[in-house]
Subunit: 374 residues, 2 copies
């Protein structure tokens, strides 16, 4: 069986971890022998944006449509604040290069939207050998096992709104979040379906309907309706602010979580931090209708502060690759890859963010060795 | 000197901790002898809303204007999810009572808006004798010392937008965030002024301008301008998602933080959790022009799960009272009160959320005893 994969390594450490992930995927295929990957590379990035004036060429989205899946690295020019968080959160000042907002509007969001990837799945757990920054009494190794289902196609990221410069010189900006019944229902169903497949069958829905009276109230109402279809799922509701408290102080009480584009963006970064390192965390941008290819990316960003040094943690990219393999229908291969990844996070080598001193290459080779051993 | 204070105890444990705070304030005045407090109580609450149909009577805001300050408890009917977080974050299902959104739109937000309390200040540190849920290597007792400056009058809480039920049956809701130059400039200046008074003089500005292209970009631009007026303040910028990671993994790197209404709402709950208990955290809703009274409230909410049992942690209300006293110009008295509070968090008695078994009354008496001893 042949799978055609588009790879978009992007910027900074995105290129380094994508290369590593491809190596691991090729090794998996080689050892298994029943399937193959063919990769095609797309050099869409902030770096090339500066020369070309665009991220995605006019026929870019169409080119992607023929692939079975997309492996994404990271996007963000060196002024990105987001990028600083893979290995450490520094507080360095940076000069603008390609402003962050341009790089994301230009690449990430159009991909998600044009390929109807309306679900973003972010599993979080403490991999063997890694540890949470939380005290052991607060969070034991098995106490944090969540999957965050993020609405990935509407809400706070609509891009609608604008800025008016009144004659008085007083600028006014509006930012319009758009929530549709169709959009909310489909993400809710996906979340309930996900919860149904998990041992605890629990779903927590997050809004901020005590302060935002329109879209968030619609979320509440639709949740109330959809949950009638899933009597076996235990549900509860949280406000997004209180949710951060519960994640931090009572991680055991959570299982599946569904939230809006912005809320889940924030909560999933927090989840990654609570699980030990943002360098580990994977994400899947899914088109559940399977009309278009889905896209798999580590959540860490381009990390300009460590880019080019070969020291990025590739585990987030490996885990994302495992999720891709699972989405392609190779469940057992995905489980095996996760096993190999965790053998390495447990026994080492480990990168700096996990308390080790290994580089990307060493970790990648160790995972490839594990694959051979299986 | 006489200070006239309006007290709005509200719902649930709000009434219990406000009573405790008043007792402590009266003791402070009695021992000191140079100032007095006169309290007037307002029974605006979700409980009374159900009988009356309103939270604030037509002349309510005018009544408040004659006071020097307002002491607020909490609002939220028993279905509030927010309220569950004072002592613990439970996952109990609850039936709607007064929906949360009504109780907050009806009381909290009109107060903040009508009294031009455009700044919400949320200091966070680890009080003596309490501890962070973070491991000691990640966060030592002195490593978390932040003040979050929250924009309190515009942005994501505008209430604008609406819900349209199209004939197709597909509802669409819009939620409009409104940001004004005047509103952003004044909160930025307040944040810079706050940073200037702190030993490290550091300010971190938080936005999400890589996904929200209008209001958040205006925040970035105005930050860039205003910081020129404060060459002594060291600044940096973070995206709100990455900010949760930095707060969790590198708390030492942060000092003063400024963010929008929604972002700072979320980040300040996280800050409270990371400092040990949301039962401790204070907030000040300030009108820096001093035209109207400012309002002081613990951030914990009405906590229906423990309301009526007399076991709520009053420390958040005491700390809020200390901030009120400071705002009224009694700096030294405020410092003394904080000293007394921390003597009690250190030596006990402590409530359950801090690992003790004391009730509200015992903690209150202990703080009053400390005040007498000074
Ligand atoms: C009560 C609610 C509207 C409120 C807010 O979000 O402002 C609360 O969470 C707070 O933080 O003061
Ligand atoms: C890159 C940025 C637009 C993005 C987001 O907020 O969606 C990122 O933070 C993420 O979580 O995937």
């Amino acid at each position: 069986k042949l799978f055609r994969i588009a790879s978009i390594p992007g910027d900074g450490i995105g290129t380094e971890v994508t290369e590593a992930a491809i190596q691991v995927l090729q090794k998996l295929a080689e050892v298994d022998g029943t399937f193959h990957f063919e990769f095609e590379h797309f050099d869409w990035s902030s770096k090339n944006f500066k020369e070309r004036g665009y991220y995605i060429p006019p026929d870019g989205i169409d080119q992607l449509k023929k692939f079975n899946a997309i492996l994404f690295g990271a996007v963000g020019s060196p002024d990105s604040n987001k990028g600083q968080t893979q290995a450490k959160a520094t507080d360095t000042k940076r000069l603008p290069d390609v402003p962050d907002h341009i790089s994301l509007w230009g690449l990430m969001l159009p991909l998600r939207n044009s390929l109807t990837q309306y679900v973003n799945v972010r599993p979080t757990r403490i991999l063997r050998g890694t540890s949470s920054p939380l005290r052991a009494e607060v969070c034991g190794p098995k106490d944090l096992d969540w999957v965050i289902i993020r609405e990935n196609s509407e809400g706070e990221y609509s891009g609608h709104g604008g800025t008016t410069h009144a004659a008085s010189g007083n600028a006014v900006a509006t930012e319009v979040s758009i929530f549709t019944q169709v959009g909310i229902e489909r993400i809710m169903r996906f979340a309930f379906d996900t919860a149904m497949l998990r041992p605890r069958k629990k779903l927590t829905m997050v809004t901020k309907s005590n302060a935002q009276r329109h879209g968030m109230v619609l979320w509440d109402q639709i949740f109330h309706e959809v949950k009638k279809e899933y009597p076996d799922v235990e549900t509860d509701k949280m406000l997004v602010d209180a949710m951060t408290v519960r994640m931090t102080l009572k991680p055991q009480t959570l299982d599946t979580i569904v939230a809006t584009n912005l809320h889940a963006d924030i909560l999933s970064d927090l989840a990654a931090a609570l699980s030990g390192s943002i360098g580990i965390a994977p994400s899947s941008n899914l088109d559940p209708t399977r009309k278009h290819p889905s896209m798999f990316e580590p959540i860490h960003g381009s990390a300009p502060d460590i880019a080019g040094q070969g020291i990025a943690n590739p585990v987030g990219a490996f885990w994302s690759a495992a999720e891709m393999v699972r989405w392609l229908g190779l469940e057992e291969v995905a489980d095996k890859l996760m096993e190999c990844i965790e053998n390495v996070t447990e026994a080492g080598p480990r990168t700096r963010d996990l308390g080790g001193s290994a580089n990307t290459k060493e970790v990648t080779e160790a995972v490839c060795n594990e694959i051979e051993k299986q």
